[in-house]
């Protein structure tokens, strides 16, 4: 940072995280400044003449009017290069471990400056270009093995066409060492393995594609009923205790993505600790490496400064786009976008802007849109036919559990899948508490082919049958609430039983059960098929006059409900046995009444 070039300003007013400084002639909106003697990180949000309003990313207690403000000339940027994977960063991209070393203790103190990427670590760089080559933005310069992926070092997108003047031989280099020299617009430019990118600007790509490939999460109610695709978007709203965070953790753990970026935005400290404890222990089934090696975790917990919460989401999505540009499939999970929106509200109110709905600023929908629009499946920049994707899954924490509040409502407009969490299901410990009547996914139809190709089952047909049973059961339950279940006909009570079987045997999934925590698409298909066929198999019993109370007592019901706990390898055989048991019970019951 080249602060020497600029005139220093002076603080004239401090009000919480908002500081007004004078004497900052020529400063730009969104420029990063260093505030006070401790050089706290801040961003310029408003300019009037040489007066600038700054939002400060660190606590401002003890700052005085008259202290200096330095300009950096740069917008808030993310460092992109080898060394991101496996890191735990704060909302400004500073590694938490490095902060702990600098702070000399377990509490976060102010004014700490540490770079995102480790400066002393050597990476094994293999060039793929040679002297004299022409390069375009996005073209690969070389590769570095990193964690679970092959990291591609690319010509940053903010260059034009360049000519390679020199490139280093294969070897071990730090991110600060020059790996290539190019000629760009008539001048010599040194390239390193990392570059900086302003976090609020989406990174360019060649072409956006339609998303058609299921993002397998291993969570049955999601994959089968309300799927998300690679490059898709989804929101998961729900009151506290409905299981947002657990669901997001599950998706982050099991999604078949190359890289996962998890943004903990204004949430609990212990939840981040939970991730930090489980990620190194869990192994990615595809690569056999710990999940942490394919993950970037961003932790801006609720007690950390509010403005950094606003920035953390943009930092996270910039990392996600960077990995996408390597031709990788990325999932970004943000918990929670409501805390992010509230941070906007808090800052807007400190800036004395006129509030719109519930005190949120009028530009809230634009901000939400600008975040979700950075998802997508694209042909990446550069002269390669590579496809990369960023899928975004955002938790929403509606105040009072009311889905009509502005953040939920605006989010709904921009997402392709919507997983509405239901307090009543959560109270029953039906998890994931995704309400099957209020959730939606716009991606289901496009995935029929995918299921047939990958599992051999027309899953969408089973889904329709299951939905039909669930819908009918739901309206029957309404009636039963008034007249009692005993007053319903046996035929209707069989539907309730069939629905219950689908709920208990399929929709309910135990995140903490060794086997049940992940369910492959194949197993999902066979399981759902078996459960929806129960109704057809059991129907003849009603016609034959078997009382429903006898059907309720069938031993095979328990077997069917517990099929989901059977490991993948033994699953097919277990299904056969369960069906055989069911059929023999059915025929003996029918024989009894005859």
């Amino acid at each position: 940072m080249s602060e020497l070039m600029f005139e220093k300003g002076v603080i004239s007013h401090i009000k919480g995280p908002v500081v007004i400084a004078e004497g900052l002639r020529g400063a730009k909106i969104r420029e990063v400044v260093l505030v006070g003697e401790e050089r706290l990180i801040g961003e310029i949000v408003r300019i009037e003449g040489d007066r600038a309003t700054i939002q400060v990313y660190e606590p401002t207690g003890g700052l005085k009017a008259g202290e200096p403000v330095e300009r950096t000339g740069e917008p808030l940027s993310a460092e992109l290069g080898p060394g991101l994977l496996g890191q735990v960063l704060d909302g400004l991209g500073r590694p938490l471990e490095a902060i702990a070393v600098e702070a000399g203790g377990p509490f976060i103190t102010r004014g700490i400056k540490v770079p995102t990427l480790p400066r002393d670590k050597k990476w094994h760089f293999t060039p793929v270009i040679k002297k004299g080559d022409d390069l375009e933005p996005g073209d690969v310069i070389g590769t570095v093995p990193e964690g679970a992926i092959t990291h591609k070092v690319m010509l940053p997108p903010n260059y034009g066409r360049v000519k390679v003047l020199d490139v280093v031989p294969e070897g071990d280099y730090t991110v600060e060492e020059v790996i290539a020299t190019v000629e760009y617009a008539g001048t010599k430019v040194d390239l390193k393995m990392y570059h900086k990118w302003p976090v609020r600007n989406p990174r360019p790509f060649n072409l956006k594609l339609a998303p058609v490939e299921l993002l397998v999460t291993g969570q049955r109610v999601i994959d089968t009923f309300f799927p998300i695709v690679k490059g898709g978007t989804s929101a998961i709203p729900g009151g506290f205790g409905t299981g947002k965070t657990v669901t997001l953790h599950q998706v982050s753990k099991w999604a078949d993505a190359d890289v996962v970026v998890y943004v903990g935005c204004g949430e609990r400290g212990n939840e981040m600790t939970d991730l930090l404890h489980t990620f190194p222990k869990l192994v990615d089934p595809k690569t056999g490496k710990p999940l942490l090696e394919r993950s970037v975790l961003i932790a801006n917990t609720s007690n950390m400064p509010v403005p950094a919460r606003e920035a953390s989401i943009f930092i996270g999505v910039t990392y996600a786009e960077y990995f996408r540009d390597m031709g990788l499939h990325v999932v970004l999970t943000a918990d929670s976008t409501s805390r992010w929106a509230e941070a906007l509200r808090e800052l807007s109110s400190r800036l004395e802007e006129i509030p719109s709905e519930r005190g949120f600023p009028a530009y809230l929908p634009d901000f939400i849109a600008s975040f979700y629009e950075r998802a997508g499946r694209v042909y990446v920049k550069g002269r390669r036919d590579e496809v990369g994707s960023v899928a975004i899954i955002g938790a929403v924490s509606p105040s009072g559990g009311d889905l009509n509040e502005p953040v939920t409502q605006h989010t709904m407009r921009y997402v392709g899948a919507f997983w509405a969490l239901d307090k009543n299901l959560a109270f029953k410990r039906h998890f994931p508490a995704i309400n099957w009547l209020r959730s939606f996914s716009k991606y289901t139809e496009g995935l029929r082919e995918w299921w047939i190709k990958n599992t051999g089952h027309d899953m969408m047909a089973y889904r329709e049958k299951a939905m039909d049973i669930l819908q009918r059961a739901s309206s029957l339950e309404e009636v039963a609430r008034v007249v009692g279940e005993a007053a319903l006909s046996d035929e209707n009570r069989l539907i309730l039983l069939a629905a219950d079987l689908i709920k208990e045997g399929f929709l309910v999934q135990n995140a903490y059960h060794e086997v049940d925590t992940y369910c492959s698409p194949k197993k999902q298909a066979l399981l759902l098929k078996t459960l929806v066929e129960f109704y057809e198999r059991a129907r003849p019993m009603i016609d034959a006059g078997v009382p429903i109370s006898r059907i309720h007592e069938m031993k095979s019901l328990g077997t069917l409900r517990r099929l989901k706990f059977i490991p993948e390898e033994e699953f097919e055989k277990a299904v056969e046995e369960a069906v055989a048991q069911l059929e023999s019970e059915i025929s003996s019951l029918i024989a009894e009444v005859r």
Partner: protein, 467 residues
């Protein structure tokens, strides 16, 4: 406090708890201010806005009697609490000053009452089961050391008894410990405070506790500092002295109301129900101070009590609290009216950290499954109970009737217990199995075959007979 800082005479404007001064350079944001009137009265305040031209000070305490030619001394320091192990057994007010007639504290250190956020990478994950001796909590809402678990209550419910019983009974099985209790009363009546004091005295914990009292007739503005000074003391005991600290703060509703009052005096844009938009962040800066730290022996387990206005769970206070804390214990008026103590309704209650605090080696291998099954069955029973209101008991199917009976027995035998009764986790799980044995085995879908085989009372009886 610091001897540095400037002293001025005269203030420009007083507006509620806010004092405005002009032309005082070099004032620091959040700096502590002392104001003296000519008749010798003294106020403490804190800088809310520090500007070249204008300084806004928030005064702690009642501003009655504040005069325009008062003397204002800027101390050059933010609000700090003197901490030392001498604080144990003492009583302080909401600003951290002794009010028990004893001498001032000889400070080992001065700590900023706002603390600093714990680095998430340096947090130790709370996973040590705390046995409270209450079946509803141990069996279904297990508390772990370092957790923040609030009690959501209503006026008139026995939340003080529940909190006192937990403070008295809680142990970590198989571990000797240095424990302490930090108790903060925010806007409480004196008889409530007396109740807690008597309880602590009765079980010999008074010398191991620190009391911070802001009573109903104490300055409203000190309600803002009360939980902060209490947690600052708790952090010192836990992370410097290595003690396991239980912090009980009651009533957080009074805290939030003070926050709203202050926000409206500052003319801020209100969010829901007049509470400020930053209430979530503000509450988080309090609640998130609970926890454990890697490499340090102590812990802060935090149990705030709040009364939900009108019993409304969606009111901003319980709502925002629930989003920050690691679960909640929900006390239910209906259960209370039916004579159930503790009136814990387990359905809307939750302990988020339970999963890692229970199971083999901690409690028992069947704990998780039993708890899940109890939830599912009790929820069925509650549904049946609603139905009875409409169709009468005769209109229920035999299955529904069985669940109704289950719910009744669950409340009377599992949830209910005496104020002095302590059940260990084995006893709690045995009661649970006795209740689950009422139901046909095909209904026990949350329990695996293996666990059924080992723990179901009928299977155990069969095994005993076979032998």
């Amino acid at each position: 406090m610091s001897i540095y800082g400037m002293t001025y005479r005269g203030i420009d404007q007083v507006k509620g708890p806010l004092v405005i001064m002009r032309g005082v350079p070099g004032v620091a944001y959040e700096e502590v201010v002392r104001i003296f009137s000519e008749d010798g009265r003294e106020w403490m305040g804190q800088v809310l806005e520090a500007g070249k031209d204008k300084v806004v000070i928030q005064v702690l305490g009642d501003t009655e009697g504040l005069e325009s030619n008062a003397i204002v001394k800027f101390t050059g320091s933010t609000l700090k609490l003197p901490v030392s192990d001498e604080m144990l057994g003492r009583v302080f007010n909401g600003a951290g000053e002794p009010i028990d007639g004893g001498p001032p504290i000889r400070a080992e250190d001065w700590r900023d009452i706002n603390g600093a956020p714990i680095n998430p990478a340096k947090r130790d994950y709370p996973d040590e089961f705390v046995e409270t001796g209450l079946s509803a909590i141990d069996g279904m809402l297990s508390l772990v050391r370092g957790q923040k678990l609030p009690i959501f209550s209503e006026a008139g419910l026995p939340h003080n008894h529940v909190a006192a019983q937990i403070a008295r009974q809680a142990i970590v099985p198989g571990k000797s410990e240095r424990f302490a209790i930090v108790f903060a009363a925010i806007g409480l009546k004196y008889d409530d405070v007396l109740f807690f004091r008597r309880q602590f005295e009765e079980f010999g914990a008074l010398s191991r506790s620190i009391l911070f009292l802001n009573l109903a007739n104490d300055p409203v503005i000190e309600r803002i500092t009360t939980p902060r000074v209490a947690l600052t003391a708790a952090e010192y005991l836990a992370f410097d002295l290595g003690m396991d600290v239980l912090v009980i703060v009651t009533d957080m509703t009074n805290y939030c109301e003070a926050l709203r009052e202050l926000s409206s005096a500052r003319e801020e844009v209100p969010s829901r129900k007049g509470y400020p938009g930053y209430m979530y962040s503000d509450l988080a800066s309090i609640y998130e101070r609970a926890g454990r730290i890697i490499g340090r022996p102590g812990s802060i387990t935090f149990m705030p009590i709040l009364t939900m206005p009108g019993g409304d769970l969606t009111h901003p206070i319980p709502d925002l609290t629930g989003y920050i804390t690691e679960g909640q214990i929900f006390l239910d008026l209906d259960l209370h009216n039916r004579g159930i103590y503790p009136p814990i309704n387990v359905l809307p209650s939750l302990s988020r950290l339970m999963k890692d605090g229970i199971g083999p080696g901690k409690t028992r291998e069947d704990h998780k499954e039993v708890s899940d099954q109890l939830y599912a069955a009790y929820s069925q029973g509650s549904k049946a109970r609603e139905l009875v209101q409409i169709v009468g008991e005769a209109g229920l199917s035999p299955r529904e009737r069985r669940y109704l009976e289950f719910a009744r027995r669950f409340e009377r035998e599992f949830v209910a217990q005496g104020f002095k009764e302590r059940r260990n986790i084995e006893e709690t799980l045995e009661i649970a199995w006795d209740l689950l044995a009422m139901l046909p085995e095909s209904e026990l879908t949350r329990i695996s075959d293996k666990t059924l085989e080992k723990y179901h009372p009928r299977r155990r009886r069969e095994r005993a007979v076979a032998r």
